[in-house]
């Protein structure tokens, strides 16, 4: 029966000791340990939250970058397209201009040639006239060297002269 009969002495010492242990450990062990654990959990939680925030920021930044890039790409395409268009227009205009120039040059050349031709023809005519006179002079001189011939001529002329 000794086994299940609680002894007064033990109850007394257990009560006293346990209360002391409870007080001392609560104050000098559990309190600092719990506070330290809590602090650490808080700091870990904060760190995790910050990491999460940083990740979200990064994502945001990435998305922003992507958007900017997209915009830049669109801008580039637009610029390129305009440039192409402009170049084409310039090219076309240049072509037209050149054609015009060519045409003008051609017509100028043509009129110049014509003028040259005309003056050459006129010149030739003059030369021919002068030459003709010279030839006629020479011929005349030769024809009228002797007085018989002159008389002949006059006779011929007179012969031809038909007096009606």
């Amino acid at each position: 029966m000794n086994l299940v009969t609680p002894e007064f002495g033990l109850i007394f010492w257990q009560t006293v000791t346990f209360l002391v242990v409870l007080f001392v450990l609560s104050r000098y062990a559990w309190k600092p340990i719990m506070n330290a654990l809590k602090d650490r959990e808080h700091s870990i939680e904060n760190a995790l939250q910050e990491a999460d925030k940083a990740r979200k920021d990064m994502e945001q930044l990435k998305a922003d970058n992507e958007k900017l890039l997209d915009e830049a790409r669109i801008e580039r395409d637009k610029i390129l397209k305009t440039a192409h268009q402009l170049a084409q227009e310039t090219k076309d205009e240049a072509k037209v201009q050149a054609q015009k120039e060519v045409d003008k040059m051609l017509s100028d050349a043509r009129s110049a040639i014509q003028a040259e031709k005309n003056s050459a023809i006129a010149d030739m005519k003059k030369q021919i006239a002068a030459l003709s006179i010279e030839v006629a002079e020479v011929i005349l001189k030769r024809e009228l060297e002797s007085p018989e011939k002159q008389t002949q001529l006059v006779a011929d002329l007179v012969k031809d002269l038909k007096i009606n």
Binding site: N2, V4, G9, Q14, V20, V21, A29, I33, A36
Partner: protein
């Protein structure tokens, strides 16, 4: 990472403790018992002797020599406080006293212990005054000494753990701190938070203290010559009483309402035939009683089994060499089981205490689980 270094450091740190225990045990007053050699081995008596409390701490017996640590005896008598060492018992005179047992007067062996204050009869581990007047025995018995040892150990360990938190603030736990941190967090998160709920914090110091108190003492009880502290009904009774008082003093309106006006019970079971309030009221007391008996019975049973296994060797004296290996193997298996039980019973006691506190501080009773 560097486990071997850590391990050797750990053992190195524990070494002084082992050496200390060894040194304490050496200069023990070695006495030769002039008892009857021919006395037959009585396993029941031996086992009861080992699991019961004693006024001295017996470590081992070699031949006829008992290696014991005498402990102070403190008696509160009508003549005042009487303090003397337990070794005095052995210097006392062997006498025979008349004692009434089961209505019959019979002679029993006792020791007469004389002090400057009183003369006591020491019989069956108890002091009685010659006059028969009542005395209070608050001696530092084997269990009390073991209790002090465990308290010293608890404080030593957890002050170091707390120091670790101060030293490694904001860093990863180290050494003994990292060993106990998961256990502390387990008590906090799985026992206190789980069973009590949001108001767990005010019960946490108590829960941590009983958890480690019971665990450490269960473990100390497993040492050879260790005291059977948590297997002592006085200790479990006191622990259960703490839980009981904390429960009833933290009980809120909802708790008492639940006991005396149980929701969901027909009115006539509460007024005309008040079975429910009676059952619930008895429950307040049955819960701590179950705590008390569970821990006491589990630990004592473990000790009895271990001692029975060893007793077998002495019972089969002639074939002891055959029985001994079997006993030792069984005892080894039992020791492993007891190591587990030591932790399990600490867990169960703490968890149930937490559950009772949880019931006491629960605010609403939406879903009753009966």
């Amino acid at each position: 990472m560097n486990f071997s270094t850590y391990k050797s450091q750990f053992i190195y740190r524990l070494l002084p403790i082992f050496i200390g225990i060894f040194l304490i045990s050496l200069p023990l007053s070695a006495k030769t018992e002039d008892g009857e050699k021919s006395e037959k081995f009585n396993p029941g008596e031996t086992i009861m002797h080992h699991i019961a409390d004693a006024h001295e701490w017996e470590f081992f017996i070699i031949g006829e020599t008992h290696y014991t640590l005498p402990l102070p005896v403190i008696l509160y008598t009508p003549n005042g406080l009487d303090v003397f060492m337990s070794s005095k018992i052995h210097h006392g005179k062997e006498i025979e006293i008349e004692k009434e047992e089961k209505g019959k007067m019979s002679k029993v062996h006792a020791t007469e212990v004389k002090t400057s204050l009183n003369t006591y009869h020491y019989e069956h581990g108890k002091f009685h005054l010659e006059s028969g007047a009542g005395i209070y025995d608050i001696s530092i018995t084997k269990n009390v000494a073991s209790l002090f040892l465990s308290v010293f150990l608890l404080m030593f360990v957890f002050f170091r753990v707390a120091k670790g938190y101060r030293r490694n603030a904001g860093k990863a736990p180290k050494g003994i701190q990292s060993f106990f941190e998961p256990v502390i967090i387990f008590v906090r998160d799985d026992i206190a938070k789980g069973a009590i709920g949001p108001k767990y914090e005010r019960f946490l110091p108590y829960l941590l203290t009983i958890f480690f108190f019971i665990w450490f003492n269960n473990m100390l009880g497993l040492f050879p010559a260790g005291a059977n502290l948590t297997g002592n009904i006085a200790i479990t009774l006191t622990l259960a009483l703490f839980t009981f008082f904390i429960t009833i003093f933290s009980g809120n309106r909802a708790y008492w309402g639940h006991i005396f006006n149980t929701p969901g019970v027909p009115w006539w079971l509460k007024t005309i035939l008040p079975i429910m309030p009676l059952v619930e009221f008895l429950g307040i007391f049955i819960k701590p009683v179950s705590l008390m008996i569970r821990l006491f019975a589990n630990i004592t049973a473990g000790h009895i089994i271990m001692l029975s296994l060893f007793s077998l060797i002495f019972m089969f004296k002639s074939v002891a060499y055959l029985v001994a290996p079997v006993s030792v193997v069984f005892a080894m298996a039992m020791t492993f089981l007891e190591l587990f039980v030591a932790l399990l019973q600490a867990y169960v006691f703490t968890l149930l205490s937490a559950l009772y506190f949880g019931q006491a501080v629960e605010e609403h009773h939406h879903e009753e689980a009966h």
